[in-house]
Symmetry: C2
Subunit: 551 residues, 2 copies
């Protein structure tokens, strides 16, 4: 039997278009003698649909399109299609209104429905908000082959692999007890750095532990802050990886099931190395946000610094250099290299630039505020004014020409609030908001591995916001390798101040950094969506109160 | 037996201070012969603690303070204290890491622990993210009296009252079967308009249906976007309301249990009428956000319009007129009345004002952008520039003098995006972001019921953003009563476009409004926290994708 993996990039809520895309692939399946077509979790609406799930007509529309697919699928091709299913017994039994389901369509009918059993509620996931968990193992038989069905999280609860359980049941154990021939896992699993390796290790562990080959099908493409990385793969019961689809691109292909073993029809895609993977994820994130929101062109402020240099490079790869505009906005405090470095970068990338000096606006704000600010010293208020003038210029240009403004802040500065709300934080998408500064240096060095794309001076000069004469970041912050380690321990690992100090960090620095993280919460709450690439991003998975006094 | 209701206003995460406040009240209890002290849900850490619950030392600290309370409580006073309890079996059983619990402290010990059974996951609630539900009825005996314990949502699942069930079990039915003498409900139930009436009707229904008196204890005070309105009350088994604590203020008092009936020690507080209640809620929201974030003073832009007039009035009541600064920022497009009305308002309120005309900044931006904007027409980009100049001025003043900037947008304009991101949306708190425009008119008329606080011309003139000559809101939007009805149907009731049109609205207007709501999502994502006063606010309870194509 030939089985096709459709690693799809749906647009959230574009149900008819998503259905048509599935149908197109089903038609190809017929030509290639494929009998079973696998699509990702919630493939009809895209993942995550979030509160669109609360709209009754959204659920109705999915059902209508599912029926359309059932009757339109070519004869001989069976499909597994992801959709949100209304729970008819919700009100009577006091259950959640929906199931996160997969429909088996075959012979012009919806033959069977499989319901996700394990519903994640950690990090960015809110599945208990919408869904009732399924309460029995999911499986079916096709041409005498007994196939287990799991949906994403259903496979992520093996106490042997994780050292603990996160849910009461382990669906693959139930399927093993039913003697399925193999199990499919239909997922929408968001990218984080290094996650694909862990996924494959987990799949290999499960395949050998439960003596079951597994086909893992992942969504690809970015939806707001989440990047889905694809990397669908097939593991045989000896734990050997038999096939892997490319990461970060829509892709479909078949795999052959024969003699209780999967065989690939082509060489497995090579796993991207760490920097290549991260960079490709960020490019996909920018590309899909722009495309799915209807933007063809983007702009950003080019300060001559490393953050905007990296984002300009990502934007040029995502949208084409001809669609990216860099705006240089020097002030009297700007260094000469801020201009020369930015221009050199733009030339390397082939992007357009415009220069708008901000001194005229600085002067008009200063004189308008002179009476109120009399007898005060130059400080953060004046620094922020410069940043907000730049942010206002960028938004003015974006509004005028319908460009997407991409904001360039990194995770380290978002963490400690070393950024200006309504200034450099302005933008529709924060491309590198979840990338720590130390990783930004690493990515830029990687980009320069063959030829110089990021001018060397941008990488080697001391980072500076250039909001007052001679300013550098390290006037206010610890060295970035120290800052990033403290932040990783505090934000991602939930370590206590004592644990961080015990790990070798200076008491006073830790206290200062953690205080900064806390008081910057109000800025992060108003930040643009940032592409998530770590286990814990400041976004939908970070839900901190602002008015609080925990210390 | 005398029982005290402590309607507390905790600060999120300030565990030692919250514990000390409880201890102070317990000491008063001893003086007043009170035997049982009731506190709200999660009274030790305040509700909602959100992701602070993911920090292990936060949970440890709660336990330490609970033990401190147990050993410090005066002899003879029993207390019910809310805290997040670690679930010791979480990893082994695959359960959630915590319980949302109440501890019974008595005789220097933690005698019993009661676990919340029904965990809300709708709207602003994320309890399944943190908590495992308790699985048995909660009750205890004190001086021979058998008392049932429920925590907030535990009482909100009566299928007779609601016409459906939202959870599988109904905890009060279990308690009735155990023949408790009465039940306590320890809550942190956020305010929405008219909710207190529904709560009391529900309590009265439950008391008569299950033949059980009920003491309902609610948290009071605002935490970020949520306002908790207090209004704790006591219902006898005949359904008669025997006591009610004041709404919107911290308050404690006792109630007497004798002959299977509660008797109040003072007259029940009078229920506020609709406008008084809404206004008091908004004042509390501003007051607590400022206080809990450490601000003593606030500023806002005074446009001469009704929104900023209402917010100035709220701010003056919340912080004292002497602590509120209104900034007038006229442009060449401003009408004369924009100044005279704003000045008249400020005089009525007794707040300070400063005037900063924006024309100099408009000119400097215009000339700096002249080359790029050549051959384009005056449009939204130029309108937004004015708004962003004002937003930048306000933030400059706020930064310089450490004032809280309160933003003045209403729900109707937030819904359709009739507001400028990084402009008039700037601010730490959005005081009336969940109040529809029609309600704003009603509130201002109510404020003027005795004397003129809001100058009449502000209420009667046509609303205008004054961003171009002669502009009024209704150039771009339908009349506000039509707009607000469409929005309420679409946003709060999840009605489909067809249902809204069938209700009598014009097809073209509905289509336009719903399109505006969708494309404004990116603005709302970056909005300041807005005080929630309706069943569905654009805030933590509104989780819509941005890059989506559902229509």
């Amino acid at each position: 039997m030939k089985i096709a993996i459709a690693q799809l990039n749906p647009t959230i809520g574009d149900i008819p278009a998503n259905a048509d895309r599935i149908l197109t692939i089903a038609t190809e399946c017929l030509r290639n003698d494929v009998q079973l077509l696998l699509t990702p979790e919630l493939s009809l609406c895209g993942y995550p649909p979030r509160d669109l799930l609360l709209k009754p007509e959204f659920i109705d529309n999915m059902w209508t399109n599912l029926e359309y697919l059932a009757t339109s699928f070519p004869e001989g091709v069976t499909g597994l299609i992801g959709f949100a299913e209304r729970n008819p017994e919700a009100a009577a039994k006091g259950e959640k209104p929906l199931y996160n389901s997969m429909a088996l369509i075959q012979d012009n009918e919806i033959k069977q429905i499989f319901r996700k059993r394990l519903l994640p509620t950690y990090d960015v996931f809110d599945e208990a908000r919408y869904f009732q968990p399924g309460n029995s193992p999911n499986h079916f038989t096709l041409d005498g082959i007994h196939i287990g069905v799991t949906i994403c999280e259903d496979l992520w609860n093996d106490e042997e692999f994780w050292g603990k359980r996160a849910y009461e049941v382990n669906p693959i154990a139930d399927l093993a007890a039913l003697n399925v021939d193999f199990t499919v896992n239909l997922s929408a699993s968001p990218y984080t750095m290094g996650k694909q390796k862990i996924r494959e290790q987990m799949l290999q562990h499960l395949a050998t532990r439960f003596n079951q080959p597994i086909i893992y099908v992942n969504q690809v493409g970015a939806n707001d802050d989440l990047i889905f990385d694809g990397g669908s793969c097939v593991v045989n019961k000896d734990g050997m990886l038999c096939d892997r689809l490319p990461q970060m691109q829509e892709y479909s292909r078949g795999v052959v099931w024969e003699n209780q073993t999967f065989t690939s029809v082509a060489a497995p895609a090579v796993l991207l190395d760490e920097s290549a993977e991260l960079y490709a994820a960020l490019v996909l994130g920018v590309k899909d946000y722009a495309r799915k929101c209807g933007f063809k062109q983007a702009l950003l402020g080019l300060s001559g610094g490393i953050d905007s240099a990296l984002v300009a490079t990502i934007a040029a790869d995502a949208l084409g250099a001809e669609n990216v505009l860099g705006i240089l906005m020097p002030s009297p405090y700007s260094s000469d290299h801020s201009i020369t470095d930015a221009v050199a970068l733009a030339q390397n990338l082939g992007i357009k630039t415009q220069t708008v000096p901000i001194e005229p606006m600085m002067k008009s704000f200063d004189s308008s505020l002179a009476e109120m600010f009399a007898d005060t010293e130059f400080g953060v208020a004046e620094e922020n004014l410069q940043s907000r003038i730049r942010g206002t210029l960028l938004m003015g240009i974006a509004n005028k020409f319908n460009y997407l403004l991409i904001t360039t802040g990194n995770k380290s500065e978002m963490a400690v609030g070393y950024c200006t709300l309504y200034g450099d934080m302005n933008g529709g998408l924060a491309a590198i908001a979840d990338v720590p500064k130390t990783k930004i240096f690493a990515l830029c060095k990687w980009l320069n591995r063959a030829t110089e794309i990021i001018p060397t001076n941008i990488i080697t000069k001391p980072p500076s916001a250039e909001l007052k004469p001679g300013q550098v970041d390290q006037d206010s912050l610890p060295e970035y390798d120290i800052l990033d380690d403290i932040l990783e321990r505090f934000v991602q690992k939930h370590e206590s101040p004592k644990q961080i100090i015990d790990a070798g960090h200076d008491d006073a620095i830790v206290t200062k950094v953690l205080r900064l993280v806390k008081i910057a919460e109000f800025k992060r709450r108003q930040a643009a969506p940032g592409l998530k690439v770590t286990d814990l991003a400041f976004g939908t998975g970070w839900r901190m109160p602002i008015a609080q006094r925990w210390s």
